[in-house]
Subunit: 265 residues, 6 copies
């Protein structure tokens, strides 16, 4: 395979990058995290998931789709997991600075689209705000993809797990069992559902009326969900469907254009 | 009425504030925006909505609920509306700095809870990230409330409007018609639905796979939605239901406590 | 009254703002503070004064004067009053950032003049430095107005009060008695004159040889001056004369032009 | 003379500095500027004046007064003179950072008082704000001295010069003629009075209602005042009286203490 | 192999990291770059080299040596290669922020030593300054290792190449031929020696009297050196000797202790 | 001597600076430090050395060499000497900001070359990174000169002193004895060689495998080296040779030009 057709931008030489047709095409930045994931999962969990998912999706892209992944940003904003040794967190300001520096370099190379693909919930708000600022500052069309929300789990999942299993629970445990089983300690897997007070209102961890939470406020183990339900099979099935979805998205993004401005509808 | 029972914190003297029982109770910071809202609505729209809604909700709180509003932050992050004269925007970093400074002052006064109530979509991501950082930095329990998502409109609304009417459309026009009718120019109201490309994917303006947008990319007038559908009646009905919901929320938040940490469920 | 002739910029729509003739005219940003004002005045005192004074002055402007007020910045730099619950302070860097962001938005809308009207002594130095930087960075003609120094009190005032009554004393108490009497607790008003050491030099709280002071260094109550001398009559008289002065100033500023550069005199 | 009795702190060794009795005493930071001063004065003018004046004052201090000068900060905030080659300006943020870093070091050495003595008008507002912040952040008693305002010129000076001769005019030219006559080119001295519009209001370059100015807005030569009136005699007389005043001030400051807090007067 | 004995810190769970004996031991952060490396090498070159070298060295460490690698920081400060598409650079401030955030997290986990191992010349000065600041701010013993200077090339190398072959020349080309031969395009390899002027002084690109350079100032291709001399054999030999040296270093660092403070020698 | 031919840029007026032929020529910024130098040397040592050395070198420059020194930056980054009273340190960020502000002013005046001449080891890395950033940001050719590495001591020096005598030892003591003998207390001079552990590797205080050190980690007195060996004769000899070298360097730098870009060699 010619290097020029690689999906990994940094595997190219600079003249190859200069010569790319950039009218179509998207540069992709995978962003992970290094943070506690309970007593059974590695702290690298989020980075492992996002980079693996992207690798699978890239391999499925039709040859004519123009999409190139940047090296991963292995660290994210994880201060909600501070207090657990092994969590390594960038601040909001630092993560913003990194994103702006990378985006500025991408724009100056002549690319027109940048997709941020994110493996960690704690990065979501930062990326959304940064994406808009990147669009305004550089002119890049900028996209945010949160793969954890891409697809419904293709297996039965309890309502409790769906609602409260958002960190190191059934889904993430399954994914790492599929991606890096040697790094999982199922013998230490446990279940913990945070006792969010029933206030009779939509107040919750997430959503339009949310409470800002630290994991140590709610879970001694760092687990939110039932990790014992994780299986490699569930993980593989989820990767399969999410990677398909991601490939479709990257295809769409790579050709995305703004409409001509028009009045009314 | 005794000043001590006012809902407006800055109407109190410092010894009154020092004497407040702060074990329960929430300090509320309303955050608006000054930005283009089409040819028919004032640029102050978001600030008008959030402060009015808060005023109505505060008036409905039972006397025993401990909740005090700070003076509004009248400016937000509005760079998605740059290019339209009259838009006044704080940067991401500036808005974060303001929120951290205010939260630090609230914490140093001995309060335990801070609720950010937000009138502008462009502030959402910034507030979410800031709320978590405020919790980590100050120990405050910190809450984000986005009133625009609080309730379903208590009137029939088209699917197109629900999806694409997110700025200066039927809902916001109705609200300002109810709150400040003299500031609305219905004769200039128009309808514009942004032509978001049909990509066959969940890619959209918002959500887990989003494109970062500037309003000028998609709407010459700055309107997203059908402003001609706005009526004061719809606005009043919406305020009525949203204020009820908000009052319930503030009540819940004012008494919110973390659980003792426990293993498993 | 046509909206286009309102004095409140954010009451206009963006096309109205775009259409304003900006060759003449001044945009006005009122800046207050939320900080302790002794046991008898609300912490909102400075914001109340500056916005009220501006409202009165705007109402007196001849119709042909082009002047538009922005929504108030309700918070200022008040760290000299830290340690008193209820003081909410922006840092020097934060306040600068806010002013630069707002000024940048004003300049990008095509306006030529920006007046900062300030209700709080602790903001003065910050605004002076920022105004110069705004002029250099944006090209705006930028003006600073400190209304507390605008006019001589139109009533007899003791030398001691004139010198040491600079915070929550006779003048500020009178003003709030005139503006928002329900928020004043005259029964708790007291007199305190800070015992500034007599050094036989011009060293003082203010002026060219000044000591940087925190209010808690000098006053247990937070009062500097004799609050018991405050009356609504004095307040009204002061507002009357200050608003006239302010209206004259805004008129002059709205037409202010730089001279052509010339050698010698 | 023993080194321990030197007035120049950085001439001491660290154990000598550690051994100083710091209960009384003041550390002094002279701050100048490098900026255009017309066609006849060196750009170093402000630094030359402030360091010379301080040297003379220090030499006059009684032996028992505890006062130690730091090395000068030769650069200030001079962006009002941008556009004239030779102006070297620190930004507001940079100058603040330098002052905070130096003050932090002074406080950590155990000193209790810091006096900022300033030779440049463009630094005044920055220093005032910084001094307050230094007091709040470090606990140092912090003082600002603007020598240009210390004394009345001990010679006849016209009203026009007093009002409009604030940069490179009679006073500054006289001072440099006294301090560094070889650096003055009296053959190029000229007079320029800025044509500030007569607005019938107190609006002016300085004071409570001021316009933010750049020197290039108002003077092609960079001169504000009548430089041709400068003489070494005037300069020497001014230094004489200002140094006396400064010595008196430093003496007072070196012993300055806060009062115990007391109620009322 | 037990996960606890892995050399990759983020492969551990948080309780495993909490349980590590940290009295001895070093956490290692590999730092690379994404930047032009001529027409024949991938832009990922520096990251490939540093992570590969570290992997080899870690595999050679005796079991009793306590050393754990963090996930790589794939981006560095590369603005000296700006202007070549594909260069992605963090600013000085951003890279400092990232390093401080990571170091703070490492220190808060209870580790005592942090080693920065760097694959890119443009990072050297930033890391040196940051390492000292990290030591001062966190108490960590902090080390900087520049592998490119670790060993003499174990093969004959010309004086010209040694002096001027510092980027994409014989050494780096050999290393990538050994590490990732598929990413090298030897058919495009070329030789370029920058024509540094002969000034008869020690002035050079590097060293105590250096000129700050951008690669585009000196090389159209981005190559500095003779890439045609690169061979996989040379690369393997260099990796062999450098990894040995690195393993020895990491062993020494993992046990490094400060002396008790003593007077004299 | 005509002022225009002075070597001190700030002794010129702005029109003189505007009129300088800047095609050739270098502006020089001397940067020192205020920090502990043991019990026998003043904290001003580094600033004294660099400014004196520069003065001597400037006096030796041929008249046709175009070189102008800026006023010294008397403070540097000295946090490695924190904990010793009298150390006054700028942070990394602050020093960078100062350098960028000064460089920006130099570039805007039309100069083409800036040389940073540095008297303090703790500044080296900061200046190297800043110099590159200045070149990239301003277009200035920017040079870093570390005089302490300029020449071999022209007198016998022990291997131990050469290696471990890097602060307040034989060399620096000799230099201050030559420059400012009144400020040296030879009766308190002492010898201390830090006991750097013998790790059998090239790990050291400096160099490609370095440990970040604080002086208090290694020396109670702050001395690194044998100060008792210092003599004014050694200092004078060193100044003599270093100043010659510096003059040669400044001459070369003042004429330094980039080559036209060329392919290959």
């Amino acid at each position: 395979m010619s290097q020029t057709t690689t999906r990994y931008l940094a595997h190219l030489t600079w003249p190859e990058i200069a010569a790319l047709d950039k009218e179509e095409g998207v540069v992709i930045l995978p962003i992970g995290a290094v943070e506690q994931h309970g007593p059974h999962l590695p702290t690298l969990t989020d980075t492992l998931i996002v980079t693996h998912l992207l690798d699978v999706a890239l391999a499925r892209l039709p040859a004519e789709v123009r999409a190139w992944a940047l090296p991963s940003l292995n660290y994210g904003k994880s201060n909600e997991h501070s207090g657990f040794p092994g969590t390594v967190s960038l601040s909001n300001a630092t993560l913003n600075a990194v994103l702006h520096d990378i985006a500025g370099s991408v724009a100056s190379a002549g690319f027109r689209r940048l997709a941020l693909i994110n493996g960690h919930g704690g990065n979501v708000a930062v990326l959304e705000a940064a994406a808009r600022d990147i669009r305004a500052a550089t002119g890049l069309l900028c996209f945010c993809i949160q793969p954890s929300f891409l697809v419904e789990p293709p297996f039965a999942i309890s309502e409790q797990e769906r609602r409260l299993g958002f960190h190191a629970g059934e889904v993430e445990t399954s994914l790492i069992l599929a991606i890096a089983p040697d790094l999982v300690h199922m013998e230490r897997a446990l279940a913990h559902y945070a006792r969010f007070p029933d206030t009779g209102t939509p107040l919750f961890f997430f959503g339009p009326t949310m409470t800002a939470w630290l994991s140590r406020d709610w879970s001694e183990s760092g687990v939110f969900g039932d990790a014992t339900l994780g299986t490699a099979e569930k993980g593989s099935a989820l990767i399969e469907s999410a990677a398909d979805r991601l490939a479709t998205l990257l295809t769409a993004i790579s050709r995305f254009e703004l409409p001509a401005r028009t009045k009314g509808s």
